[in-house]
Amino acid sequence: MVLPTHDSCAHCGHHHELQVENLRVCYRNLEALQDVSFSTSCGACVALIGPNGAGKSTLLKAVAGLLPVTSGGILWRGTRVAKWSREIAYLPQRENVDWQFPITVSGVVRTGRYPQAGWWRPFSENDDSAIARAIAAMGLAELGDRQISELSGGQQQRVFLARALAQEAHVLLLDEPFAGLDRNAKASLAVTLRHLSEEGRLVIASHHDMDSVRDIYDEVLLLRRKMVAFGPVSEVFNDALLAKTFDEQDEAGKEVA
């Protein structure tokens, strides 16, 4: 049985594919990203690795539909990604979030249901239970009424993951999820990301800490404004390719944030 929309693919026994073909993204005249082609599917945990300005955020935003694609294509489940899709959740860098905004943990998670509820419809029981499940799954049940600045870094990251779960997103795009977290929070977030991918979601995250790559991710995409390599961690995550990605000698051109 194929459900039209469902939460995670693992239980259904089929794979949804994300295909990126010859992706090129330009800001005005600046080429931020080119020659990116890869395909991956639900259940994978993918690390985006590359120096600052390599286009990691650009790639995440392009897949999220936030940036116009100059040429090439992004296909999710065989169809081109439109401006937005409920099945794709984008989680911003923590430093880009206004933590003083007067909103509670459950308030943030509730916004994940807006695509389903629309602009006016009151929340149904279905919505409420999705929100409650998402909050519980991320271990935030006790913190529902807290204002978001009153949380630790790891908890803040989990609030946004909970929103993505409430949204019933298949693809989670995370921009530097581990930045600024302490050791315990990093370890706990790593477990959470593993768990989410094992549930059948596709997790794609930009990542800086080389030591933890093997423990967290299945696949690696090495990026330096062009794709350097993509593949399973065991094949691609090696010194030779990392040197090619990070080597100062290599011409990377001007940095693009």
């Binding site: 539909g65 936030l66 007067p102 509820a117």
Partner: protein, 284 residues
């Protein structure tokens, strides 16, 4: 005691002033939540100054009518708002600077023009407001503006909040962020115009920032920010009209002064975000 309330109400101009104060206070208070969350107080302030030259040009072109001032100020604010966007996008200048250049230039032109047009008395009113001078027609204008503004902001509550909290995430959830930002700006301009006659374009900004800014220091709930701001705006405006009558001070500035005083109290005594609470936490 009851006479204090009843006596001012026996004058029709006071009745109108109170009704206007309630309408304007509530609408501005509600809208002020958006200004505070958008962190755009200075931009809105610039636009409020852009209203005056619009009135001047409208009088020059069409003479002094109920609607000429309204339409002129609306047009001028839109022109300067959009013009500043065009200047900042077309040059290396940032938007705030572009806005400052355009509105000060326009404001200066407006002052010079209004003095030549022989409407010095009204000019004072447009600058600082004259809530006692409101006519029934002005009240109706205010009513429709409040109705339209509150209706729009309430109907678009969800997508607007998403946009204000995180525009990028909102876009990934299908919210038309850019269109909503323009719409919000347009609504704020119309709300500014509604308070023009009551508090004038110099003080309109106070009504459109202070209520929600005060509540912001007292709550972490978004809904409380909107309805609290609205309640505070309405109460403060009504109180100031009474106080102005009994103490014989100008009502327009009184409204903004009362709001400022309440803000000061919240700034010092807010149980969570006040100065005293902060000092107490440090002392521990």
């Amino acid at each position: 005691m009851i006479d204090w309330l009843v006596e001012p109400l026996s004058h029709p101009f006071n009745q109108r002033a109170l009704l206007a104060a309630l309408l304007i206070g509530c609408t501005n208070g509600y809208a002020s939540a958006f200004v505070v969350l958008k962190k755009s107080a200075l931009k809105v302030g610039s636009l409020s100054h852009a209203l005056l030259p619009g009135i001047a040009v409208a009088i020059l072109v069409a003479g002094l009518h109920d609607w000429s001032a309204f339409l002129g100020s609306l047009f001028a604010a839109l022109l300067i708002g959009l013009g500043s966007l065009a200047v900042s996008r077309g040059s290396r200048l940032d938007h705030d600077s572009a806005l400052a250049i355009l509105y000060t230039a326009a404001f200066s032109g407006g002052i010079i023009l209004l003095r030549r047009l022989g409407v010095t008395q009204q000019m004072e009113e447009w600058l600082f407001g004259n809530i006692m001078g409101l006519r029934n027609g002005d009240l109706w204008t205010n009513f429709w503006i409040s109705f339209g503004a509150l209706g729009t902001l309430t109907a678009l509550h969800r997508p607007l909040l998403m946009t204000l909290f995180d525009a990028e995430v909102a876009a990934t959830l299908g919210v038309p962020v850019r269109a909503l930002n323009y719409l919000l700006l347009a609504v704020l301009i119309v709300v500014l115009i509604s308070s023009l006659q009551a508090v004038g374009c110099m003080l309109a900004l106070g009504l459109l920032v202070t209520p929600a800014a005060t509540v912001y220091l007292l709550t972490d709930s978004t809904n409380a920010l909107f309805w609290g701001g609205s309640l505070l705006g309405g109460l403060a405006a009504v109180f100031a009209v009474f106080a102005g009558w009994w103490l014989n001070i100008e009502q327009g500035p009184a409204i903004v002064l009362v709001l400022g005083a309440v803000f000061l109290l919240a700034f010092i005594f807010s149980p969570k975000y006040g100065l005293l609470a902060g000092a107490h936490r440090k002392g521990k």
